[in-house]
């Protein structure tokens, strides 16, 4: 603990927040172990915020570990890679871990057990690379924010037209109870995180780099500090921050470390700060210095329902039930959540695959979740406003969301809500506040989409009217022109000549193509025909004198 009082850096405080029981010790007792290779991987095509990806492989293709399976279809997007070698057996809709419980397109790979890497191109000399080339490497490695939201990381490494980045903040706060994947990563792989931080600093040309860690993780803090000392790295500093939920929120951690506030609906970049998760830093190190794309991550398996809670290094696409088995199986009644008890959501099935944003699988028993009771009317106590870390008025947001007044709810800055759940946690009436905010947010997005579609339809409808008018005018002009032409050479002579010529042509054709079975006859056949012809001629001849007839017959 002596290490922790090392710095006297001034810290700030974000408004609101809660002191929550951590429950982290449950899953930190065992080292990170590797989850076994599953026989089948189910890799969703969309595991990030932004545009979907387009598959580069087809059913039947052999793929190698690390091979790109799908490429981005827009700027805000990230490619998907094979987590192991094997054969693509299908690209089809499968259930994905999402609150909706809906299915989405996935690439299904039957693994061959060889786990053979594709050809990798490491860039240990990244310092000689241009920041934009570095960002392309990070983009092609499919790296997204591993803290939870899954925003493509290369975008957050692009300072764009903004002034120079002052501070790069690495988020090791991990404030949500039960989750310990970042804690374990910092304990066991501090070198990868620090090397990743160096790469990020180079890409951003950031002056300072701070790693914020909550003071309930002393092992992680000392491991990170020891690694920094070993590497002789003086420009990166570990800052111990007080444990308070939600310090791990990007805006909250920036406030605590720098005292700066991110503007409403703005980006940290606007105040010269960029914030990345520590696990993202480690993934960037692997991507750049070893050339390995993001194909695995550390997942916490915890909660009363888990027999042996622990952290596993999991290949993206591994079915969840296999991980639960690996963590000693399950016991008792539990509810399976992805994420923690505050911000997680219930999963509809245990056979769903893990994705890049699966940080924690909480097998929550009754004691793990905030106490449940049915919602009562709001008593306007104002507790929610006191704990809101975004300084919003949760009560107003609630009223207007409930009344479906989506304009008003935006006037109260609904989109600055980070859905941390503090308001619902303290609500004495147990109102499902965050659910109302989520309902309002998705409803507003949907209306926005509908409006865009309606505008497009209006435009197309109007253009169609214009097009029909134009076509009518063109047709009329054509008719006029044609009428003139027909009048000019409507002479009967020309018409008759044309008809005659056509008839002649038809006749010639008929004659040519008429079948003639009397060609190429043998002498016998010719003789027979001649005889028949002669008889016919005789029969048709008008009653000849008897003598002549007999004479002919004698011949």
């Amino acid at each position: 603990m002596s290490n922790m009082s090392e710095t006297n850096r001034k810290l700030w405080r974000f408004p609101g927040g809660l002191h929550l029981e951590g429950h982290k010790g449950l899953s930190t007792g065992r080292p990170i172990s590797e989850a076994p290779l599953p026989s089948q991987l189910v890799i969703p095509l969309q595991q990030h915020i932004g545009a979907p990806t387009k598959p580069l492989v087809a059913a039947g293709d052999k793929v190698l570990k690390g091979q790109m399976l799908a490429q981005p279809e827009g700027y805000v997007s990230a490619p998907i890679h094979a987590s192991s070698s094997g054969t693509v057996v299908a690209i089809e809709e499968r259930g994905v871990p999402h609150p909706s419980g809906l299915a989405a397109p996935c690439i299904i790979i039957d693994t061959d057990g060889e786990d053979q890497w594709c050809e990798l191109t490491p860039h240990p000399e990244y310092k000689q690379l241009d920041p934009s080339a570095l960002r392309n490497i990070i983009r092609d490695a499919g790296i997204v924010g591993l803290g939870g939201a899954g925003f493509p990381s290369f975008i957050k490494l692009n300072p764009g037209g903004h002034t120079a980045v002052d501070t790069l903040v690495l988020n090791g706060a991990e404030c949500e109870p039960y989750i310990s994947c970042d804690d374990m990563l910092m304990r066991e792989r501090p070198l990868a995180i620090i090397k990743g931080a160096r790469i990020m600093r180079h890409a951003l040309q950031a002056r300072n780099c701070l790693i914020g860690i909550e003071d309930n993780k002393p092992e992680a803090i000392s491991a990170m500090r020891a690694a920094l000392a070993d590497m002789g790295e003086k420009e990166i500093e570990v800052v111990v921050v007080p444990t308070r939920y939600p310090t791990g929120g990007e805006k909250q951690l920036i406030k605590v470390l720098t005292g700066k506030e991110v503007p409403s609906q703005g980006l940290p970049l606007e105040i010269g700060v960029v914030c990345h998760n520590v696990a993202t830093a480690a993934a960037i190190y692997l991507a750049v210095e070893q050339g390995k794309p993001l194909i695995s991550r550390v997942v916490t398996i915890t909660g009363q329902g888990a027999v042996a809670p622990q952290n596993l290094e999991v290949r993206i696409g591994t079915p969840i039930d296999q991980l639960l088995e690996q963590a000693g199986g399950t016991r008792g009644n539990y509810q399976l959540l992805m994420g923690g008890p505050m911000m997680g959501f219930p999963l509809h099935s245990e056979t769903l695959p893990t994705t890049k944003t699966t940080n924690c699988l909480l097998l929550a028993g009754d004691a793990d979740l905030p106490p449940q009771s049915s919602a009562m009317p709001c008593i306007r106590c104002g507790e929610c406003a006191r704990v809101c870390p975004a300084q919003l008025l949760p009560q107003q947001l609630y009223w207007h969301s409930r009344a479906r007044e989506f304009d008003k709810v935006q006037d109260y800055h609904l989109f600055d809500c980070i859905e941390c759940g503090c308001c619902a946690y303290v609500c004495p009436s147990s109102l499902p506040l965050v659910q109302f905010y989520r309902y309002a947010k998705t409803e507003i997005w949907s209306q926005e989409r509908d409006k865009q579609a309606a505008d497009r339809a209006r435009e197309r409808h109007e253009f169609r009217g214009f097009r029909k008018e134009r076509e009518k005018a063109e047709k009329a002009a054509k008719h006029k022109a044609r009428a003139k032409v027909v009048k000019k050479d409507s002479g009967d002579e020309a018409k008759k000549a044309a008809i005659q010529a056509a008839m002649d042509r038809a006749k010639a054709k008929r004659e040519q193509s008429a079948p003639k079975n009397t060609d190429n006859l043998t002498a016998d056949q010719q003789k027979q025909i001649d005889e028949v012809e002669a008889r016919r001629a005789a029969a048709e001849a008008p009653a000849p004198p008897a003598g002549e007839t007999s004479g002919k017959e004698e011949k």
Binding site: Q46, P52, V96, H98, P99, S100, L102, A104, Q335, L337, P341, M342, M343, G344, F345, P346, A364, L369, P370, Q372, S373, S374, A375, E419, G421, A424, Y425, S430, L431, P432, V434, Q435, F436, R438, Y439, K441, T442, E443, S446, R449, D450, A453, A454, D455, R456, A457, R458, R460, H461, F463, R464, R467
Partner: protein, 185 residues
């Protein structure tokens, strides 16, 4: 007495000229309420309201000829929006025009299509692609689901398919009064 009359007359003349000038100078070309009504309508262009498109219906509402509850694709949302805009009470959808249905898009069975172009001519938003004796197809992203291509098809090869919910377009449901376990967040 005379001064008062003269003064008032002069004032009347001055204000009359001012108003006359303003009427010419600040003349409003199109009816602003019409655009506002049109913006609320869903632009399906289906004609179920008995008007040949959304704009004509908007005109009819603006002129007080049509009621606000004749748009089945817009449903309750549009009725509510129009009621708020026009300061009238919302009312349920007129049964005469049909009922609110889930959103659909047209899909052409390309094996059966004979390439007659009749649906192309019927589509109000030019969302069907094809040519005479060539197979037709629907540009899904532009289809408004108006059903207008169904009647003209001589081989019944067009089907209206409900738009499937995807995780990216999925909406959180309106919370019920009870908190369900795990969704306390």
């Amino acid at each position: 007495m005379l001064e008062a009359i003269l003064a008032l007359t002069a004032l009347a003349v001055v204000f009359g000229m001012l108003l006359g000038f303003a009427a010419v100078r600040f003349k409003v070309e199109s009816d602003p309420i019409l655009d506002k009504i049109d913006a609320i309508l869903p632009q399906t262009q289906c004609g179920q309201c008995s008007y040949p498109g959304c704009r004509p219906y908007a005109e009819a509402i603006a002129n007080g000829e049509a009621d606000i509850n004749r748009c089945p694709p817009g449903g309750e949302t549009v009725i509510q929006g129009l009621a708020d805009l026009l300061g009238v009470d919302p009312k349920p959808l007129d049964e005469e025009v049909g009922e609110e249905k889930p959103k659909t898009v047209a899909v052409i069975d390309e094996q059966t299509c004979i390439g007659c172009t009749l649906c192309i001519q019927a589509c109000p938003v030019d969302a069907i692609l094809g040519a005479a004796k060539q197979m037709h197809t629907v540009i899904e992203s532009e289809c408004t689901g108006c059903d207008l291509c169904l009647p003209p098809c001589p081989v019944d090869c067009i089907e209206m398919v409900e738009i499937k919910a995807e995780p990216t377009t999925w909406k959180w449901p309106f919370p019920d009064n009870r908190t369900s376990p795990g969704e306390q967040a």
